[in-house]
């Protein structure tokens, strides 16, 4: 839910989209408290509250279906029929401060059943900063090459003495032939 705030904030036309969304999928409106802030034209909320969590550390957009208002496509057919139209709808590509984003929503049986992020790319410096961060990884992720032909070993500097106990000396002694 909190993800919505920053998303709106980076988006000048968010209010219109949000309103269209409300018209099209009325049952979801009550779950969208942030849309009120966006509808009132607030564009400075990025720095307040939970705005900083609008994208995760990798720069991805929020994917919570109830707080992803970017898909304006379903609003149009919905408005034309006065009800909810089933189908798959692609949202417009929208430039946010975390890069260009696009979502696809799936409406089935009159209900929103899925939201798929179609497009995420880092665009500005801020998103590069987010996506370039070092993040925790597991040892298994780091070492997947048990059978790889390791030619060298890197480690904190060994002295001439400790070299003798090093993996590097073992590789050297074996005259590595990989």
């Amino acid at each position: 839910m909190r993800a919505g705030t920053a998303f709106f904030a980076g988006l000048g036309s968010a209010a219109i989209i949000a309103v269209g969304w409300q018209a099209g999928v009325g049952t979801l409106v009550s779950s969208l408290p942030q849309s009120q802030a966006a509808a009132s034209g607030t564009t400075t909320t990025a720095a307040s509250g939970t705005a900083g969590t609008g994208a995760d550390e990798w720069g991805n957009v929020p994917t919570d279906p109830l707080t992803t208002p970017a898909a304006d496509a379903p609003a149009a057919p919905a408005a034309a029929t006065g009800g909810v139209t089933n189908g798959t709808f692609d949202g417009a590509v929208i430039n946010t401060r975390y890069g260009a984003q696009q979502v696809q929503v799936v409406v089935a049986g009159g209900k929103l059943t899925d939201v798929v992020v179609l497009q995420t790319q880092t665009a500005d410096r801020k998103s590069q900063q987010i996506s370039s961060r070092a993040n925790p990884i597991l040892r298994e992720e780091a070492l997947t090459a048990q059978s790889a032909k390791i030619a060298n070993v890197s480690g904190a500097t060994y002295t001439s003495q400790s070299y003798m106990q090093s993996l590097q000396s073992a590789l050297d002694a074996a005259g590595f032939t990989g």
């Binding site: 990798w58 590069q128 900063q129 996506s131 370039s132 961060r133 070092a134 993040n135 925790p136 990884i137 597991l138 040892r139 992720e141 780091a142 070492l143 997947t144 090459a145 790889a148 032909k149 390791i150 030619a151 060298n152 070993v153 890197s154 480690g155 904190a156 500097t157 060994y158 002295t159 001439s160 400790s162 070299y163 106990q165 090093s166 993996l167 590097q168 000396s169 590789l171 050297d172 005259g175 590595f176 032939t177 990989g178």
Partner: protein, 253 residues
């Protein structure tokens, strides 16, 4: 593949040459030239040698202004890196003595690679005490140079294996697990990491940034992954690993 190992600068150099076009005699000549260059740098910049130029400066017998061009060039280079890392890397010991150990080993690796390249070799690695640079491929079947990263908790175990290629041909690892690292800590230096590995476009960048991460901790790590094109793996005291996305992509599979 030929392997050549020799001792210099208080550590060991391991050179691997994968070129088959050139003879073993050509390789031996190039390795000898590398050995001489390492010896020259050691004689000038080692603080372990009383007769080195840097030791003379440390004792106040020689001023920087009157020192050799090499000395002033390397000191300027180290100061530049102090700027680029916001002081996390510094060429000064706490007592004020200039210590260029943080860059000279990398300079030696860089020079060694140039010597080998000029001798006509295209596929080789130069590993000095656990920091290395590479060129080409380790074999026709294996692109780049697969390189293991030591676990600081057990140096007989590897934490990761990555493919070192032309994008980031150099890799350096700094840590607190062995002496001789010459990481001159600022008073506020952290204990965030016990080991940092940096892959970069050149060995001097890799070596300096690995040192800076150990010295400056998480804040410096964040700054470096943001501002430099590098792949990074760090190890916290509890063994927890952190890596940026590029590093994970380079894990050898």
């Amino acid at each position: 593949m030929s392997v050549h190992a020799f001792e210099t600068m208080g550590t060991m150099v391991s050179i691997r040459i994968a070129d088959t076009a050139l003879s073993e005699r050509d390789a031996q000549a190039a390795v000898t030239a590398v050995e001489q260059e390492c010896g020259r740098l050691n004689e000038k910049f080692s603080l372990y040698r009383d007769d080195s130029e840097l030791s003379q400066i440390a004792r106040g017998e020689l001023t920087l202004a009157n020192s050799s061009d090499d000395m002033r060039t390397e000191y300027a280079r180290a100061l530049e890196w102090r700027e680029k890392t916001d002081g996390a890397f510094t060429p000064h010991r706490p007592d004020g003595v200039i210590d260029l150990n943080g860059t000279i080993k990398a300079v030696a690796i860089d020079s060694a690679a140039q010597i080998l390249t000029q001798a006509g070799f295209q596929n080789f690695s130069v590993n000095v005490g656990g920091d290395l640079t590479t060129s080409g491929d380790q074999s026709p079947e294996e692109q780049g140079w697969i390189t293991g990263i030591v676990d600081p908790a057990d140096r007989a175990v590897m934490l990761a294996a990555v493919r070192v290629t032309a994008e980031f041909p150099a890799m350096a690892t700094s840590g607190t697990s062995e002496r001789g690292e010459h990481i001159w800590a600022r008073p506020e230096t952290t204990t965030d990491f016990v080991q940092a590995t940096v892959m970069a476009g050149d060995i001097i960048t890799a070596d300096v940034l690995a040192t800076a991460i150990i010295s400056g901790g998480q804040a410096t790590l964040d700054q470096i992954t943001q501002n430099f094109a590098v792949a990074v793996l760090t190890v916290a005291p509890d063994g927890a690993l952190q890596a940026n996305a590029r590093f994970q992509e380079l894990v050898a599979r």
